[in-house]
Protein backbone atom coordinates (compact mmCIF):
# COMPACT_ATOMS: atom_id res chain seq x y z
CA UNK A 1 0.00 0.00 0.00
CA UNK A 2 1.20 3.50 -0.85
CA UNK A 3 1.32 5.53 2.35
CA UNK A 4 1.46 9.29 2.11
CA UNK A 5 3.31 10.90 5.00
CA UNK A 6 2.64 14.65 5.09
CA UNK A 7 5.51 16.58 6.60
CA UNK A 8 6.49 20.20 6.72
CA UNK A 9 9.87 21.61 7.61
CA UNK A 10 8.41 25.14 7.69
CA UNK A 11 8.31 26.18 11.35
CA UNK A 12 7.66 22.58 12.40
CA UNK A 13 6.04 21.81 15.76
CA UNK A 14 5.48 25.48 16.55
CA UNK A 15 3.46 24.66 19.67
CA UNK A 16 6.64 23.22 21.20
CA UNK A 17 8.49 26.52 20.88
CA UNK A 18 8.32 27.16 24.64
CA UNK A 19 10.49 24.07 25.12
CA UNK A 20 12.54 23.71 21.95
CA UNK A 21 14.52 26.15 19.82
CA UNK A 22 13.79 26.38 16.10
CA UNK A 23 16.70 24.09 15.10
CA UNK A 24 15.68 21.65 17.83
CA UNK A 25 12.11 21.56 16.62
CA UNK A 26 13.39 20.78 13.15
CA UNK A 27 15.64 17.98 14.41
CA UNK A 28 12.90 16.52 16.58
CA UNK A 29 10.32 16.66 13.80
CA UNK A 30 12.72 14.83 11.49
CA UNK A 31 13.39 12.19 14.15
CA UNK A 32 9.64 11.58 14.33
CA UNK A 33 9.37 11.49 10.54
CA UNK A 34 12.09 8.86 10.35
CA UNK A 35 10.37 6.75 13.03
CA UNK A 36 7.09 6.94 11.10
CA UNK A 37 8.68 6.11 7.74
CA UNK A 38 10.43 3.11 9.26
CA UNK A 39 7.29 1.85 10.99
CA UNK A 40 5.28 2.21 7.76
CA UNK A 41 7.86 0.18 5.86
CA UNK A 42 8.01 -2.53 8.55
CA UNK A 43 4.22 -2.72 8.44
CA UNK A 44 4.45 -3.53 4.73
CA UNK A 45 3.61 -0.08 3.39
CA UNK A 46 5.48 2.00 0.84
CA UNK A 47 6.07 5.40 2.42
CA UNK A 48 5.94 8.51 0.28
CA UNK A 49 6.57 11.99 1.62
CA UNK A 50 4.13 14.78 0.87
CA UNK A 51 5.82 18.07 1.67
CA UNK A 52 5.83 21.72 0.62
CA UNK A 53 9.59 21.57 0.05
CA UNK A 54 11.93 18.71 -0.80
CA UNK A 55 13.01 16.83 2.33
CA UNK A 56 15.08 13.88 1.21
CA UNK A 57 17.10 15.58 -1.48
CA UNK A 58 17.74 18.77 0.44
CA UNK A 59 21.41 19.55 0.76
CA UNK A 60 21.02 19.72 4.51
CA UNK A 61 23.07 17.72 6.99
CA UNK A 62 20.20 17.74 9.48
CA UNK A 63 17.76 16.39 6.94
CA UNK A 64 20.17 13.91 5.47
CA UNK A 65 21.18 12.53 8.86
CA UNK A 66 24.22 10.58 7.74
CA UNK A 67 24.71 7.53 5.60
CA UNK A 68 22.21 4.72 5.09
CA UNK A 69 19.41 6.95 6.25
CA UNK A 70 15.92 5.54 6.53
CA UNK A 71 14.72 8.34 4.25
CA UNK A 72 17.06 7.28 1.41
CA UNK A 73 15.08 6.23 -1.60
CA UNK A 74 11.74 7.38 -0.21
CA UNK A 75 9.80 9.11 -2.96
CA UNK A 76 8.49 12.61 -2.44
CA UNK A 77 5.61 14.61 -3.77
CA UNK A 78 6.32 18.30 -3.37
CA UNK A 79 3.12 20.31 -3.08
CA UNK A 80 3.07 23.59 -1.21
CA UNK A 81 -0.68 24.00 -1.11
CA UNK A 82 -2.53 23.59 2.21
CA UNK A 83 -2.61 20.05 3.62
CA UNK A 84 -6.22 19.31 2.67
CA UNK A 85 -5.71 20.40 -0.94
CA UNK A 86 -2.44 18.52 -1.31
CA UNK A 87 -3.84 15.28 0.13
CA UNK A 88 -6.97 15.46 -2.01
CA UNK A 89 -4.79 16.00 -5.09
CA UNK A 90 -2.83 12.87 -4.19
CA UNK A 91 -6.09 10.94 -3.70
CA UNK A 92 -6.84 11.54 -7.39
CA UNK A 93 -4.78 8.41 -7.99
CA UNK A 94 -7.77 6.41 -6.78
CA UNK A 95 -9.98 8.18 -9.32
CA UNK A 96 -7.51 7.50 -12.10
CA UNK A 97 -7.19 3.84 -11.16
CA UNK A 98 -3.50 4.22 -10.31
CA UNK A 99 -4.11 2.75 -6.87
CA UNK A 100 -6.90 0.75 -5.26
CA UNK A 101 -6.12 1.99 -1.77
CA UNK A 102 -4.06 4.75 -0.29
CA UNK A 103 -3.10 5.62 3.27
CA UNK A 104 -2.26 8.94 4.88
CA UNK A 105 -0.19 8.77 8.07
CA UNK A 106 0.93 11.93 9.84
CA UNK A 107 4.66 12.46 10.33
CA UNK A 108 4.39 13.23 14.04
CA UNK A 109 3.03 9.90 15.25
CA UNK A 110 6.10 9.20 17.33
CA UNK A 111 4.49 6.20 19.04
CA UNK A 112 3.44 4.46 15.82
CA UNK A 113 4.60 0.85 15.67
CA UNK A 114 4.39 -1.64 12.79
CA UNK A 115 1.78 -3.54 14.84
CA UNK A 116 -0.44 -0.47 15.22
CA UNK A 117 -0.09 0.39 11.53
CA UNK A 118 -0.88 -3.18 10.47
CA UNK A 119 -4.16 -2.89 12.37
CA UNK A 120 -4.89 0.29 10.42
CA UNK A 121 -3.96 -1.21 7.06
CA UNK A 122 -5.85 -4.47 7.68
CA UNK A 123 -9.32 -2.99 8.14
CA UNK A 124 -11.82 -3.84 5.46
CA UNK A 125 -13.96 -0.69 5.28
CA UNK A 126 -14.08 1.78 2.42
CA UNK A 127 -12.32 4.11 4.81
CA UNK A 128 -10.35 3.39 8.00
CA UNK A 129 -9.88 6.27 10.39
CA UNK A 130 -7.43 6.55 13.28
CA UNK A 131 -8.61 9.48 15.41
CA UNK A 132 -6.11 11.84 16.96
CA UNK A 133 -6.24 13.46 20.34
CA UNK A 134 -8.38 16.63 20.27
CA UNK A 135 -10.54 15.88 17.25
CA UNK A 136 -7.84 15.36 14.65
CA UNK A 137 -7.38 12.57 12.13
CA UNK A 138 -3.96 11.01 12.52
CA UNK A 139 -4.16 8.27 9.93
CA UNK A 140 -6.50 7.14 7.18
CA UNK A 141 -6.83 4.36 4.68
CA UNK A 142 -8.99 5.23 1.69
CA UNK A 143 -10.30 2.59 -0.70
CA UNK A 144 -12.94 4.56 -2.55
CA UNK A 145 -12.47 7.65 -4.74
CA UNK A 146 -15.73 9.14 -3.42
CA UNK A 147 -13.94 10.04 -0.19
CA UNK A 148 -12.08 13.30 0.31
CA UNK A 149 -10.29 14.78 3.29
CA UNK A 150 -10.87 17.98 5.25
CA UNK A 151 -8.26 18.48 7.93
CA UNK A 152 -9.64 21.72 9.34
CA UNK A 153 -11.29 21.73 12.78
CA UNK A 154 -12.75 18.54 14.27
CA UNK A 155 -11.64 16.53 11.28
CA UNK A 156 -12.38 13.12 12.74
CA UNK A 157 -16.04 14.06 12.96
CA UNK A 158 -15.97 15.58 9.49
CA UNK A 159 -14.31 12.49 8.01
CA UNK A 160 -16.95 10.22 9.52
CA UNK A 161 -19.62 12.49 8.01
CA UNK A 162 -17.92 12.66 4.61
CA UNK A 163 -17.85 8.85 4.51
CA UNK A 164 -21.48 8.55 5.63
CA UNK A 165 -22.68 11.14 3.10
CA UNK A 166 -20.92 9.23 0.31
CA UNK A 167 -22.49 5.96 1.49
CA UNK A 168 -19.11 4.53 2.46
CA UNK A 169 -18.33 2.25 5.38
CA UNK A 170 -15.87 3.66 7.88
CA UNK A 171 -13.84 1.63 10.36
CA UNK A 172 -12.47 3.48 13.34
CA UNK A 173 -9.15 2.13 14.59
CA UNK A 174 -8.88 2.23 18.37
CA UNK A 175 -5.17 2.81 19.00
CA UNK A 176 -3.50 4.99 21.60
CA UNK A 177 -0.30 4.84 19.55
CA UNK A 178 -1.98 6.21 16.46
CA UNK A 179 -4.05 8.70 18.49
CA UNK A 180 -0.93 10.35 19.87
CA UNK A 181 0.28 13.04 17.52
CA UNK A 182 3.01 15.15 19.05
CA UNK A 183 2.12 18.83 19.04
CA UNK A 184 2.09 20.09 22.60
CA UNK A 185 4.45 19.88 25.58
CA UNK A 186 2.30 17.28 27.38
CA UNK A 187 2.64 15.01 24.34
CA UNK A 188 6.36 14.69 25.04
CA UNK A 189 5.44 12.71 28.18
CA UNK A 190 3.88 10.08 25.94
CA UNK A 191 7.00 9.91 23.75
CA UNK A 192 9.25 9.45 26.79
CA UNK A 193 7.00 6.77 28.30
CA UNK A 194 5.93 4.83 25.23
CA UNK A 195 8.27 5.74 22.36
CA UNK A 196 10.79 3.23 21.05
CA UNK A 197 12.70 5.05 18.36
CA UNK A 198 14.65 8.10 17.34
CA UNK A 199 12.17 10.64 18.69
CA UNK A 200 12.37 9.28 22.23
CA UNK A 201 16.14 9.01 21.96
CA UNK A 202 16.34 12.61 20.76
CA UNK A 203 14.35 13.83 23.77
CA UNK A 204 16.48 11.83 26.20
CA UNK A 205 19.68 13.16 24.58
CA UNK A 206 18.26 16.68 24.84
CA UNK A 207 17.87 16.20 28.60
CA UNK A 208 14.14 15.65 28.91
CA UNK A 209 12.82 13.30 31.54
CA UNK A 210 9.58 12.41 33.26
CA UNK A 211 8.61 14.49 36.27
CA UNK A 212 6.42 12.17 38.32
CA UNK A 213 6.40 14.19 41.52
CA UNK A 214 3.04 15.74 40.88
CA UNK A 215 -0.29 14.16 41.57
CA UNK A 216 -2.44 13.69 38.49
CA UNK A 217 -0.79 13.38 35.10
CA UNK A 218 2.98 13.47 35.06
CA UNK A 219 4.99 16.24 33.45
CA UNK A 220 8.45 16.68 31.96
CA UNK A 221 11.59 18.45 33.03
CA UNK A 222 14.75 19.30 31.12
CA UNK A 223 18.15 19.07 32.69
Amino acid sequence: MQVLVPYTGRDPKSRLSALLSTPERRQFSLAMLRDVVEAVREAGGTPELLAPDPVVTADDPVANGGSADVLDGVSETVDDRPLTVAVNAALDRLDRGQASELAVVMADLALATPTALRRLFAGGGDVAIAPGRGGGTNALVIRDPAFSVDYHGASVRDHREIAATAGLSADVVDSMRLATDVDEPTDLVEVLLHGRGRAREWLVDAGFEIDADDDGRVGITRS
Copy 2:
Protein backbone atom coordinates in the same frame (compact mmCIF):
# COMPACT_ATOMS: atom_id res chain seq x y z
CA MET B 1 -13.74 -12.34 35.21
CA GLN B 2 -14.22 -10.23 38.34
CA VAL B 3 -13.60 -6.60 37.41
CA LEU B 4 -12.91 -4.11 40.17
CA VAL B 5 -14.10 -0.62 39.33
CA PRO B 6 -12.59 1.90 41.76
CA TYR B 7 -14.82 4.92 42.25
CA THR B 8 -14.96 7.75 44.71
CA GLY B 9 -17.84 10.09 45.33
CA ARG B 10 -15.63 12.26 47.55
CA ASP B 11 -14.98 15.46 45.59
CA PRO B 12 -15.05 13.53 42.32
CA LYS B 13 -13.37 14.94 39.21
CA SER B 14 -11.91 17.89 41.08
CA ARG B 15 -9.85 19.00 38.08
CA LEU B 16 -13.12 19.75 36.27
CA SER B 17 -14.19 22.26 38.92
CA ALA B 18 -13.56 25.22 36.61
CA LEU B 19 -16.30 23.87 34.34
CA LEU B 20 -18.66 21.94 36.58
CA SER B 21 -20.23 22.62 39.98
CA THR B 22 -19.81 20.09 42.77
CA PRO B 23 -23.23 18.46 42.21
CA GLU B 24 -22.54 18.40 38.46
CA ARG B 25 -19.20 16.69 38.97
CA ARG B 26 -20.94 14.09 41.07
CA GLN B 27 -23.62 13.51 38.43
CA PHE B 28 -21.11 13.35 35.62
CA SER B 29 -18.82 10.95 37.49
CA LEU B 30 -21.78 8.65 38.15
CA ALA B 31 -22.76 8.78 34.47
CA MET B 32 -19.24 7.64 33.58
CA LEU B 33 -19.34 4.93 36.26
CA ARG B 34 -22.60 3.58 34.83
CA ASP B 35 -21.15 3.55 31.31
CA VAL B 36 -18.10 1.64 32.53
CA VAL B 37 -20.13 -0.88 34.55
CA GLU B 38 -22.37 -1.53 31.57
CA ALA B 39 -19.43 -1.94 29.17
CA VAL B 40 -17.69 -4.34 31.57
CA ARG B 41 -20.81 -6.46 31.81
CA GLU B 42 -21.32 -6.48 28.02
CA ALA B 43 -17.71 -7.55 27.62
CA GLY B 44 -18.42 -10.59 29.78
CA GLY B 45 -16.96 -9.30 33.04
CA THR B 46 -18.56 -9.17 36.48
CA PRO B 47 -18.23 -5.58 37.69
CA GLU B 48 -17.61 -4.91 41.36
CA LEU B 49 -17.33 -1.44 42.82
CA LEU B 50 -14.39 -0.55 45.03
CA ALA B 51 -15.23 2.66 46.85
CA PRO B 52 -14.52 4.50 50.10
CA ASP B 53 -18.25 4.85 50.76
CA PRO B 54 -21.23 2.79 49.62
CA VAL B 55 -22.42 3.86 46.18
CA VAL B 56 -25.18 1.51 45.14
CA THR B 57 -26.99 1.29 48.43
CA ALA B 58 -26.73 4.96 49.27
CA ASP B 59 -30.10 6.56 49.90
CA ASP B 60 -29.37 9.15 47.26
CA PRO B 61 -31.58 9.92 44.28
CA VAL B 62 -28.58 11.00 42.22
CA ALA B 63 -26.75 7.75 42.91
CA ASN B 64 -29.78 5.56 42.49
CA GLY B 65 -30.76 7.16 39.19
CA GLY B 66 -34.23 5.71 38.94
CA SER B 67 -35.59 2.21 38.43
CA ALA B 68 -33.80 -0.65 36.69
CA ASP B 69 -30.50 1.08 37.13
CA VAL B 70 -27.37 -0.48 35.68
CA LEU B 71 -25.81 -0.35 39.15
CA ASP B 72 -28.58 -2.50 40.68
CA GLY B 73 -27.15 -5.75 41.99
CA VAL B 74 -23.53 -4.74 41.46
CA SER B 75 -21.51 -5.84 44.46
CA GLU B 76 -19.41 -3.35 46.35
CA THR B 77 -16.29 -3.51 48.42
CA VAL B 78 -16.12 -0.50 50.70
CA ASP B 79 -12.55 0.39 51.59
CA ASP B 80 -11.62 3.94 52.46
CA ARG B 81 -7.87 3.45 52.34
CA PRO B 82 -5.85 5.02 49.49
CA LEU B 83 -6.43 3.50 46.04
CA THR B 84 -3.19 1.53 45.90
CA VAL B 85 -3.76 -0.06 49.31
CA ALA B 86 -7.39 -0.88 48.58
CA VAL B 87 -6.61 -2.48 45.21
CA ASN B 88 -3.73 -4.52 46.60
CA ALA B 89 -6.01 -5.76 49.40
CA ALA B 90 -8.53 -6.87 46.77
CA LEU B 91 -5.74 -8.61 44.82
CA ASP B 92 -5.21 -10.88 47.84
CA ARG B 93 -7.95 -13.01 46.33
CA LEU B 94 -5.38 -14.26 43.82
CA ASP B 95 -3.08 -15.25 46.66
CA ARG B 96 -5.88 -17.05 48.44
CA GLY B 97 -6.92 -18.89 45.30
CA GLN B 98 -10.34 -17.22 45.26
CA ALA B 99 -9.78 -16.04 41.70
CA SER B 100 -7.37 -16.97 38.94
CA GLU B 101 -7.52 -13.54 37.32
CA LEU B 102 -8.79 -10.14 38.32
CA ALA B 103 -9.20 -6.90 36.41
CA VAL B 104 -9.13 -3.30 37.58
CA VAL B 105 -10.89 -0.79 35.33
CA MET B 106 -11.12 2.87 36.31
CA ALA B 107 -14.58 4.41 36.64
CA ASP B 108 -13.82 7.43 34.46
CA LEU B 109 -13.13 5.62 31.18
CA ALA B 110 -16.08 7.24 29.46
CA LEU B 111 -15.03 5.95 26.03
CA ALA B 112 -14.68 2.31 27.09
CA THR B 113 -16.63 -0.04 24.85
CA PRO B 114 -17.24 -3.77 25.21
CA THR B 115 -14.95 -4.29 22.20
CA ALA B 116 -12.07 -2.41 23.81
CA LEU B 117 -12.55 -4.24 27.11
CA ARG B 118 -12.68 -7.62 25.37
CA ARG B 119 -9.25 -6.86 23.91
CA LEU B 120 -8.01 -6.13 27.42
CA PHE B 121 -9.55 -9.26 28.92
CA ALA B 122 -8.39 -11.53 26.08
CA GLY B 123 -4.64 -10.95 26.46
CA GLY B 124 -2.64 -13.93 27.59
CA GLY B 125 0.13 -12.34 29.66
CA ASP B 126 0.53 -12.59 33.41
CA VAL B 127 -0.45 -8.94 33.42
CA ALA B 128 -2.24 -6.84 30.81
CA ILE B 129 -1.83 -3.09 31.07
CA ALA B 130 -3.89 -0.38 29.39
CA PRO B 131 -1.90 2.86 29.75
CA GLY B 132 -3.68 6.11 30.46
CA ARG B 133 -2.88 9.52 29.10
CA GLY B 134 -0.11 11.18 31.10
CA GLY B 135 1.54 8.12 32.59
CA GLY B 136 -1.43 6.59 34.37
CA THR B 137 -2.70 3.04 34.33
CA ASN B 138 -6.33 2.97 33.30
CA ALA B 139 -6.99 -0.75 33.28
CA LEU B 140 -5.22 -3.92 34.31
CA VAL B 141 -5.73 -7.65 34.19
CA ILE B 142 -3.71 -9.56 36.77
CA ARG B 143 -3.24 -13.32 36.56
CA ASP B 144 -0.40 -13.79 39.03
CA PRO B 145 -0.36 -13.03 42.77
CA ALA B 146 3.24 -11.81 42.53
CA PHE B 147 1.99 -8.58 40.95
CA SER B 148 0.95 -5.57 43.00
CA VAL B 149 -0.19 -2.09 42.01
CA ASP B 150 1.25 1.33 42.71
CA TYR B 151 -0.92 4.10 41.34
CA HIS B 152 1.25 7.01 42.40
CA GLY B 153 3.19 8.97 39.76
CA ALA B 154 4.04 7.46 36.37
CA SER B 155 2.23 4.26 37.29
CA VAL B 156 2.33 2.73 33.82
CA ARG B 157 6.11 2.71 33.98
CA ASP B 158 6.07 1.41 37.55
CA HIS B 159 3.64 -1.36 36.65
CA ARG B 160 5.83 -2.52 33.77
CA GLU B 161 8.78 -2.55 36.18
CA ILE B 162 6.87 -4.38 38.92
CA ALA B 163 5.94 -7.07 36.39
CA ALA B 164 9.50 -7.32 35.05
CA THR B 165 11.02 -7.52 38.54
CA ALA B 166 8.64 -10.36 39.43
CA GLY B 167 9.53 -12.18 36.20
CA LEU B 168 6.02 -11.76 34.81
CA SER B 169 5.03 -11.20 31.21
CA ALA B 170 3.17 -7.95 30.58
CA ASP B 171 0.97 -7.23 27.57
CA VAL B 172 0.32 -3.59 26.79
CA VAL B 173 -3.10 -2.95 25.27
CA ASP B 174 -2.99 -0.25 22.61
CA SER B 175 -6.40 1.41 22.89
CA MET B 176 -7.31 5.07 22.64
CA ARG B 177 -10.63 4.29 24.31
CA LEU B 178 -8.98 2.75 27.34
CA ALA B 179 -6.24 5.41 27.38
CA THR B 180 -8.77 8.20 27.78
CA ASP B 181 -9.55 8.74 31.44
CA VAL B 182 -11.59 11.86 32.00
CA ASP B 183 -9.92 14.23 34.43
CA GLU B 184 -9.30 17.52 32.70
CA PRO B 185 -11.35 19.94 30.61
CA THR B 186 -9.69 18.86 27.34
CA ASP B 187 -10.79 15.28 28.03
CA LEU B 188 -14.42 16.37 27.63
CA VAL B 189 -13.67 16.93 23.93
CA GLU B 190 -12.95 13.22 23.61
CA VAL B 191 -16.21 12.30 25.37
CA LEU B 192 -18.23 14.56 23.06
CA LEU B 193 -16.50 13.22 19.93
CA HIS B 194 -16.19 9.53 20.73
CA GLY B 195 -18.52 8.74 23.65
CA ARG B 196 -21.61 6.67 23.10
CA GLY B 197 -23.32 6.52 26.49
CA ARG B 198 -24.63 8.40 29.48
CA ALA B 199 -21.53 10.53 30.01
CA ARG B 200 -21.71 12.04 26.54
CA GLU B 201 -25.45 12.51 26.88
CA TRP B 202 -24.95 14.24 30.23
CA LEU B 203 -22.48 16.70 28.69
CA VAL B 204 -24.78 17.44 25.76
CA ASP B 205 -27.73 17.99 28.11
CA ALA B 206 -25.53 20.29 30.20
CA GLY B 207 -24.91 22.44 27.13
CA PHE B 208 -21.39 21.41 26.19
CA GLU B 209 -20.41 21.27 22.56
CA ILE B 210 -17.32 21.11 20.41
CA ASP B 211 -15.63 24.39 19.55
CA ALA B 212 -13.85 23.69 16.28
CA ASP B 213 -13.08 27.28 15.34
CA ASP B 214 -9.53 27.17 16.54
CA ASP B 215 -6.59 25.77 14.68
CA GLY B 216 -4.90 22.89 16.44
CA ARG B 217 -6.88 20.71 18.81
CA VAL B 218 -10.51 21.60 19.23
CA GLY B 219 -11.99 22.88 22.48
CA ILE B 220 -15.38 22.93 24.15
CA THR B 221 -17.94 25.61 24.88
CA ARG B 222 -20.96 25.61 27.14
CA SER B 223 -24.20 27.30 26.14
